[in-house]
């Protein structure tokens, strides 16, 4: 199976939130029923953050202009990294890559350690206290393996979300960025081509990465170094055991005379002598 990707074009997104609703509907993720669940921030964004039951939101980065606002929408969900820090950090192998590049969490295996939560540079996986497991977007693998588009893509009314072969999505993103630059959006960029080995969510960032809250050149160096601790720790422990084994071997014939203190003279007196 070829690698696939979702392409999000921020210049076409109207933040209708249809993708958020479709995600919740398809994946049967309930929404809070109370009216005051979220803190009012003057932003049009809702919900304010991802959660175990919200795997996709459109972030609103509202920037005031002289007249009106630059909205700078951004699809906030799993990027399905090729070098997925969450997968590397998971101690039980609950996080895996599908052949098409999608990264998913097997809740049957998840032990709720939250190492993936700590490791993801994008802060995507969310731990659920009730089930003690972690959740995130799985790129609707039940749909994509049946030749259907992910739920969010299928519902997008403006074509801001597309799904297909990753190479095709990248080509489309590059073309769109060229169009945007011609139209005056000089900071327009493609995101996801090479980041973390290549993402499986490609973004057309209309006003540049920073304006859309994207991390330029994200790193998972610490997670990689953390993984290196395992062989290094093993080698160090083996070295110490080896050195102590050598010590034990060298002392195999060790014995010493039994000496006690002569209280009268303060000198050591030999009680038993070891045969040399």
């Amino acid at each position: 199976m070829a690698e696939t990707a979702i392409m999000y074009d921020s210049s076409k997104c109207t933040a209708c939130k249809g993708c958020q609703v479709a995600c919740k509907q398809w994946n049967q993720l309930s929404s809070p029923l109370t009216s005051d669940e979220y803190t009012y921030t003057k932003s049009f964004q809702a919900p304010l953050d991802l959660s175990p039951k919200t795997w996709l939101i459109i972030n609103f980065s509202e920037e005031d202009k002289a007249v009106g606002i630059d909205w700078n929408f951004m699809r906030n969900s799993c990027f399905h990294c090729t070098e997925a820090a969450c997968e590397k950090a998971c101690p039980v192998g609950a996080i895996t890559h599908a052949e098409n590049g999608a990264v998913s969490i097997n809740q049957e295996k998840c032990i709720g350690c939250r190492y993936c939560v700590a490791s993801c540079p994008f802060g995507v996986p969310r731990w659920d206290e009730a089930t003690n497991t972690t959740f995130k977007c799985w790129q609707c693998q039940d749909r994509t393996t049946a030749d259907r588009k992910p739920a969010c893509v299928s519902t997008c009314p403006t074509g801001a979300l597309q799904f297909g072969d990753r190479a095709d999505m990248l080509a489309a993103a590059r073309d769109r960025v060229a169009e945007l630059k011609e139209a005056g959006f000089t900071k327009a960029e493609v995101y996801g081509e090479n980041e973390l080995g290549g993402l499986h969510t490609i973004v057309v960032a209309q006003r540049g990465l920073e304006a859309h809250g994207l991390i330029r050149d994200p790193k998972i160096g610490l997670t990689d170094f953390w993984q290196l601790l395992k062989p290094l720790g093993g080698i160090a422990a083996a070295g110490v055991v080896g050195a102590l084994g050598f010590s034990y071997f060298m002392a195999r014939d060790y014995s010493r005379d039994t000496m006690v203190l002569d209280d009268a003279t303060g000198q050591l007196v030999k009680v038993t002598e070891v045969k040399k």
Binding site: W226, K230, V271
Partner: protein
């Protein structure tokens, strides 16, 4: 043969508790640390290991902290044992210790006080690393409280790095302290038995201290 009471019942009990906690923490921690082990034992065992790890971590932290309040004199005694003024014998001991350890304990070692210079030099980093592993572990139990993200990522790394360092020191501690190393044979009785050390062994390991205690006599010196 005369015997010297080197460790109190309280100190030995605390050591027993910490031994069980430490070994349990290592076994359960390694299940999480090495993915192939986790995969081999299965998810439910890993989940059980995580719960045991946290219970044992609580014991690991609470036991010595409570001891400071129950036995403040003992705590001061331990601190005094670590922070003493090194004399020439202490320096000579440290110079000779590595060849002594690796080449079969054949070198003559200088007399030592209640705490050998090498013991103090090993104990202090072990205590500091233990505090570090406890603090980083607390962050990992409540990552959301500590803000999550990069800070927790660093704490996870630090927790595991300290675990590796402590593990290496622990192996050496067991080898020497439990008397696997032939010149230290019988030392296990001090912490895992009745807390006594024979006059001959005491004079060999802690000559200066043994002479002081034997000269004082009293309840700490018995004949068997």
């Amino acid at each position: 043969m005369r015997y010297i009471q080197r460790q109190s019942t309280y100190a030995r009990s605390l050591h027993w508790i910490h031994t069980v906690a430490c070994l349990s923490l290592y076994v359960t921690g390694l299940i999480l640390f090495i993915p192939s082990v986790a995969a081999a034992v299965g998810v439910s065992t890993v989940q059980g290991a995580r719960i045991i790890h946290r219970v044992m971590a609580a014991i690991f932290i609470i036991a010595p902290v409570v001891s400071i309040f129950i036995q403040p004199k003992g705590f001061v005694h331990v601190l005094k044992g670590w922070f003493f003024k090194w004399d020439d014998k202490d320096k000579e001991f440290m110079k000779k210790f590595v060849p002594y350890l690796l080449l079969g304990g054949k070198q003559h070692m200088p007399d030592q006080k209640y705490m050998k210079s090498g013991q103090a030099l090993a104990d202090i980093p072990v205590v500091l690393l233990s505090i570090a592993i406890a603090l980083t572990g607390i962050v990992l139990v409540w990552p959301d409280f500590f803000g999550g993200g990069a800070f927790v990522r660093w704490m996870l790394f630090a927790h595991d790095a300290v675990m590796v360092l402590l593990g290496i020191m622990m192996i050496a501690h067991i080898y020497i302290g439990a008397g696997i190393f032939q010149p230290y044979r019988g030392s296990g009785r001090i912490m895992f038995g009745d807390g006594k050390v024979s006059e001959a062994d005491a004079l060999y390991h802690w000559g200066t201290w043994a002479r002081e205690v034997l000269a004082e006599g009293g309840d700490n010196v018995t004949t068997e």
